[in-house]
Symmetry: C2
Subunit: 240 residues, 2 copies
């Protein structure tokens, strides 16, 4: 019997006050009206500004804080400050959310792999074209560390190669996209099921990619990365 009530028009339902306040403040922040680091008015001031109680203001602030838009500290010099988000924390958050999407079956591991296969190879090409001394050094370091450590500890370090490779592009957005995807995939890979000799192959692949990058050969770096990821694909696919 919702046919009577639901379908007609969308009534202009009044939103909760804290939602409206959060939206207004967010608009100011995102729109650039408030530079990063700027201090918002104190909770008491916001109360009088918006004409609401402190509870309402605080709930609005919690919303913004959990979206990384503000940082709140206590004390006399405290308050809510427009956050200076860095790509790293954003990437972490995004990773958690992606994991949730996968859990809810709104996103499949295949989707992740496909996107990875689409982005990382071109990123490797860019990295090869732009790699400087320091970038190459840190990339080499990830391989050396991986080689030294035992497979168990070195496990998570294998991903550092990919993360570092993408960071060499100098484009934080690419990092922002690759890192969460890799984080989810890493958590979805049961390492016990990976035969030991696989790790040697992976290391060899990394080595060849590194060579291409350090030689500035973008074409080869892209191709090798694509092959590498394709070879890795079967390690994930059996999962739901």
């Amino acid at each position: 019997m919702k046919d009577e009530t639901a379908p007609r028009l969308r009534v202009q339902r009044v939103q909760a006050a804290y939602v409206q306040i959060a939206n207004q403040l967010r608009e100011q922040i995102i729109g650039g009206a408030l530079a990063t680091g700027t201090r918002l008015p104190s909770e008491a001031e916001l109360c009088t500004l918006f004409g609401v109680s402190r509870s309402t203001v605080r709930e609005a602030l919690r919303v913004l804080a959990s979206q990384q838009l503000i940082d709140t500290t206590r004390g006399v010099a405290g308050g809510s400050f427009v956050a200076a988000p860095d790509a790293g924390t954003v990437a972490e958050n995004l990773g958690g959310t992606l994991g949730l999407l996968v859990n809810a079956n709104n996103l499949s591991v295949d989707n992740l792999i496909e996107a990875r296969l689409m982005i990382e190879p071109p990123a490797a090409r860019l990295a090869a074209e732009r790699a400087g001394e320091t970038g190459l050094a840190s990339l080499r370091r990830t391989m050396e560390e991986t080689a030294q450590l035992d497979p168990d500890t070195g496990f998570t370090l294998h991903w550092d190669f990919h993360t570092t490779l993408v960071s060499i592009t100098g484009n934080p957005l690419l990092q922002l996209m690759c890192q969460p995807v890799n984080a989810v995939l890493r958590s979805r890979l049961h390492r016990e099921r990976v035969a030991p000799h696989r790790w040697a192959e992976i290391d060899a692949d990394h080595e060849r990619i590194y060579d291409a990058v350090s030689a500035g050969d973008g074409e080869t770096a892209e191709r090798l990365t694509h092959e590498h990821l394709t070879a890795l694909r079967p390690l994930y696919e059996r999962m739901a």
Copy 2:
């Protein structure tokens, strides 16, 4: 002079109660202990469960709600329900965050354009290979609507073409990546500065891309999309 205060050790600072509560509940939700759709205890019950006041519980709930982990409704049948996060809302949030990163100069418009240029063309190829009747229809619709409306209203619709194109790939993750990037770019494009004849060119480009997609010609779709985005590039680059 932070050398004195900062570097020593990370003290085990007691977190605010609402943060702890939010974390515990989040763990339950993400860990799968609470299936999507499940109803959390009422605020009053959570108060007694955690031994805190309602304000504290509510602030924790606001945190979770703004992370799309729960949906809250009023009334006798209301409460907080574990949400089924969808890629769309995640993309919206991400768009806001990206805008902030750009404001903070941790991300440049060039970075956005580069990533877009890297992802959308291959996505167009995928779309061409996978497009079905309904997908093609909705893609055609975005073009028709754009043509009918005056430039002002049609302004935002131009982006719908790209959004729809990516959605045809059937990979929500690609949508999740492209949509926020396009949202930020859209807000950073001053339409007054775009000469009117540009819109005609853009429409023509879209038309050709559509033809390639509907013909299932992924190769051409990818190339045309790349050219299209490259042609668009100058419209953004003059901005800080």
